[in-house]
Subunit: 216 residues, 2 copies
C-alpha cells in the first residue's frame, strides 16, 4: 500500500485551514467527493453503532435558507459540498437490533451468536441513566467523523471549514431532523478555497507541544 510519508502528512495538515472563502465556481471532482463520502461512512464509532446521519445539502434554495441561521457565513452557500452532521438524540433497542442484524449479515454469522455483544451494548446504552447522556454520546461520535473528514480532505488537497456557528434548532427545522430522531450538531463545508481568501496565508495559532502535550 502506498502511504503518505509522515513529513507529507504534516505538510498537508499545515496546508489546511478553516477556509473562510470558497471558490463557488469550483465543485469537487466526483472522485474526490466519493472518497470523502467514503471517509464519512468508514468513520469509527462507539460500538460501531454509527449513531448519526450525514446530511449533504446540495439544493441551493435549502442552502440559502440555512445562511441566515449560520451568522451569514458564506461557506454555507459557496462551498462545493455542505455536510451537516446529524446525531441521534436517543438510542433504543431498534437501533441495536438493526446493527446486530447488519453485523450478522456482513460477517456471515447468526444474530444469536452475537447475543453477548448485544447484551453489552444494551446494558450500556439502554440503561435509564444513559438517556440524558445519549445525545452527547452521539454528538461525540459525529465529531470523530468531522475530524476524520477534515483530515481526509486535507490529505487529498481539498479545503474544508468546520461550522459550529449556526442555530441548531433552525437547522433541525429546515432539514426536518427531529422527525428522524436526529439533531444537527456541527457542519462542514468542503470545496476549494478562493484565491482571494486572505485567511489562507495567516500563520496558524497553536499552543506549543510543551503546552499541549504532556508525556508521563
Amino acid at each position: 500500500m502506498s502511504n503518505l510519508a509522515p513529513s507529507q502528512l504534516v505538510k498537508s495538515l499545515e496546508w489546511r485551514y478553516a477556509t473562510k472563502a470558497f471558490d463557488p465556481s469550483r465543485p469537487l471532482t466526483a472522485e474526490a467527493w466519493q472518497a470523502l463520502e467514503k471517509a464519512l461512512i468508514l468513520s469509527p464509532s462507539s460500538f460501531g453503532l454509527q449513531p448519526y446521519r450525514f446530511i449533504v445539502v446540495q439544493d441551493p434554495a435549502t442552502r440559502e435558507q440555512l445562511l441566515p441561521h449560520s451568522w451569514g457565513q458564506r461557506q454555507v452557500v459557496d462551498a462545493s459540498h455542505l455536510v451537516v452532521f446529524a446525531a441521534r438524540t436517543s438510542v433504543t433497542g431498534v437501533e441495536i437490533d438493526t446493527f446486530i442484524n447488519l453485523i450478522a449479515k456482513v460477517r456471515g454469522v447468526t444474530p444469536e451468536s452475537l447475543a453477548a455483544y448485544r447484551g453489552m451494548m444494551s446494558g450500556s446504552l439502554l440503561s435509564e441513566g444513559f438517556k440524558a447522556v445519549a445525545p452527547h454520546w452521539a454528538a461525540r461520535q459525529a465529531y470523530i467523523a468531522l475530524g476524520n473528514l477534515m483530515t481526509a480532505a486535507a490529505v487529498i488537497g481539498v479545503d474544508a471549514c468546520p461550522l459550529e456557528g449556526f442555530v441548531p434548532a433552525e437547522y433541525d427545522r429546515i432539514l426536518n431532523l427531529p422527525a428522524q430522531g436526529l439533531a444537527a450538531v456541527v457542519a462542514c463545508a468542503v470545496g476549494y478555497r478562493s484565491a482571494a481568501d486572505k485567511y489562507a496565508s495567516l500563520p496558524k495559532v497553536r499552543f506549543t507541544a510543551a503546552d499541549l502535550v504532556k508525556v508521563v
Copy 2:
C-alpha cells in the same frame, strides 16, 4: 504538494480498524510519532481555543495502573503510544486572555486589536448558561482531535484503537487531571498491529451510503 490520491485515501481508511492486539515489540519510529503529535497539535478547534491537553502515557507502571480501569484492554499496555484526551472542564477569562495573547504574538498584532474577537469568545464561553455546556463543548473538540489522529495514523500506515471503555474517574485520579482543570474523555492507543490479531481481517460493518448519507 504531493497529496494522496482519493482512491488511496479510501484504501488507507479501509486498511485501518480498531486494533485489538498491538505488537508490543514494535515502537513507532520517531518520525511517525512526531508527525502524529503534530497532527494532534494542528487539530482545529472551536474558536481555535484548544480546550484540551494530550496526555501521552509512556511510563509502563502508569499504563499498568490504567489497565484494570480499562476493562483489561491490553492495548493500554501493549501499544507503542497511549494518548489520553483530557478536556477542560470549564472556561475562564484566563484561557481566553492566554489565547488572545498567543494570537497577538504569532500574528504580530496587539492584543487590543483583537478586542472584537475576544468579545465574541467571552460572550459565548463566559456566559452563565455555558457553564454546564463547557465540559461537553471541550470534549467535542477533543473528539475532533481523536478523529484527526486516527485518520492521520491510517494514512501513514500506523495502527490505532480508540478507547472509550475506561473508568474516567480512575484515569483522572491516576493522571492527576482534576487539579489541572481537566477530565479524561477518550483515549487512543497507537502502534503496530500484532500479526495474530484476528480482528484485522474481519470485514468492516458499516451502514450503506443510502442509509447514512442523505443528499437534500
